[in-house]
Amino acid sequence: MAEENLSRRRFFNFVGWGSMLALFGGVGGAAAKFFYPGVLYEPRSTFNAGKPDEYVAPTGSETVVVDERWKKNQRVWLLRNKNGMYGLVGVCTHLGCTPNWFPSEHVFKCPCHGSVYNVEGEVIGGPAPEPLYRPKLSLSPDGSMIVTTGLLGIRRSNLQTTKKHKDVYWHEDEKQALVKPPFFLPLQS
């Protein structure tokens, strides 16, 4: 008899505390969820960059021309070399500042902690752990370039490994990936 009473008490104890925990868990989860906005009013990650022949091609001993016209509004550089065009996302892979292009030294330098990148976006100095991200380039039917930065651009080390961003592309070979669409737009010059 006594044992039966005890087990009933324990049962209600479990039910009581269990529903309390469920309530607190629910409220806590809802509070956390509250801080994740359902809609963002951020700039589009896709933009029309005009026709490729609006971009200066390298001449003579020049290997590449860096175009800065989209830096301020889109945080993207479009670069034209002798074979075609590619882009670099102007977000330092260290902690997210915007690097600056130094034409005389032919490098990008980040003003925050001094990371240095070459025209391929590769790190040649400073604390940056990874090369600059690259946007996806494609041609629309009327011949103008569509630049897609994804959310931050495509991270090079992600190409084969993880699905970190929504539009991650898998490629057999990383070097190949960067000279082929969608990260490179071949042009006849």
Partner: protein, 266 residues
């Protein structure tokens, strides 16, 4: 006796009357309940019966009052917190945390608002001073061994208060919406993306499917980049959330000092 009464001047009589008028009424007596604190018992009763005094211990050792012992750094920190609250509320009358207004409002505070430049600079320097005072306070507590038993809990509360002070500084940094604060907060919040599991660049993030638009940084700044959402969030945390938590912890901190008393000289 008689001789004295005869000598009492009309001036003294008038003063006595005014004194009685001030002190012999319910309002005065409800504020100063104990009367003139001319005995030890009355002095302790003053501390016990007044709301404003009750946060202090009824008795403090002489050594605990010496400036060279306490540096008064805790008191200075609290004073600066009150100053920051006051000037902060006044700044809120003119500042709007909106992308296109924030920087302009800060400029207006400096150049167009009457006494605005003094107000803003008081807020700014008091904030710097509070960080400094908190750290000196912490050093003093360490040097005098005041973190030892039975005061361990107050040390832990103090560490949280230090963290809150730094977070208040950090959130306030973004509000002028200038290049300095913008990039500092960009850098500072990007560090959150390296949090294990919860940050999109941190270790094991892929186990939970964490990406740039659902990680912990996204929850902090309300977007994938520092923008309008981040500004409003910094504002609300800076003006409401963090001061409220800090106030609650300060109440606990002061109450614990009262209960534990001051630590003795080394």
């Amino acid at each position: 006796m008689e001789h004295n009464q005869q000598k009492q001047s009309p001036l003294k009589k008038t003063l006595d009357f005014i004194f009685a008028l001030i002190t012999n009424n319910p309002i005065y007596k409800s504020i100063f309940r104990v009367g003139y604190p001319n005995t030890l018992l009355k002095r302790m009763a003053v501390m016990r019966s007044s709301f404003y005094m009750h946060i202090f211990p009824t008795k403090v050792g002489e050594h605990g009052l010496k400036l060279r012992y306490s540096w008064c750094m805790g008191g200075i920190t609290f004073f600066l917190f009150l100053l920051l609250t006051l000037t902060g509320i006044l700044l809120m009358f003119y500042y709007v945390p909106e992308e296109h207004r924030a920087f302009q409002d800060m400029k207006d505070l400096r150049f167009m608002v009457p006494f605005g430049v003094i107000l803003r600079n008081m807020h700014r320097w008091a904030a710097h001073g509070m960080v400094l005072a908190v750290m000196l306070h912490m050093m003093r507590v360490f040097y005098t061994g005041s973190y030892k038993a039975p005061r361990q809990m107050n040390w832990v509360v103090g560490v949280f208060l230090l963290l809150l002070t730094l977070l208040l500084s950090f959130t306030g940094y973004l509000l002028p919406w200038d290049q300095l604060g913008f990039w500092a907060v960009t850098v500072g919040t990007n560090m959150a993306s390296a949090t294990p599991l919860m940050g999109y660049e941190g270790p094991f993030h892929e186990l939970l499917g964490v990406q740039i638009d659902n990680d912990i940084r996204f929850a902090i700044i309300g977007g994938t980049r520092i923008g309008a959402n981040a500004l409003v969030r910094a504002y609300v945390w800076h003006c409401v959330g963090l001061p409220l938590i800090a106030t609650l912890l300060m109440v606990l901190h002061f109450w614990r000092i009262r209960k534990d008393g001051f630590s003795g000289p080394l």
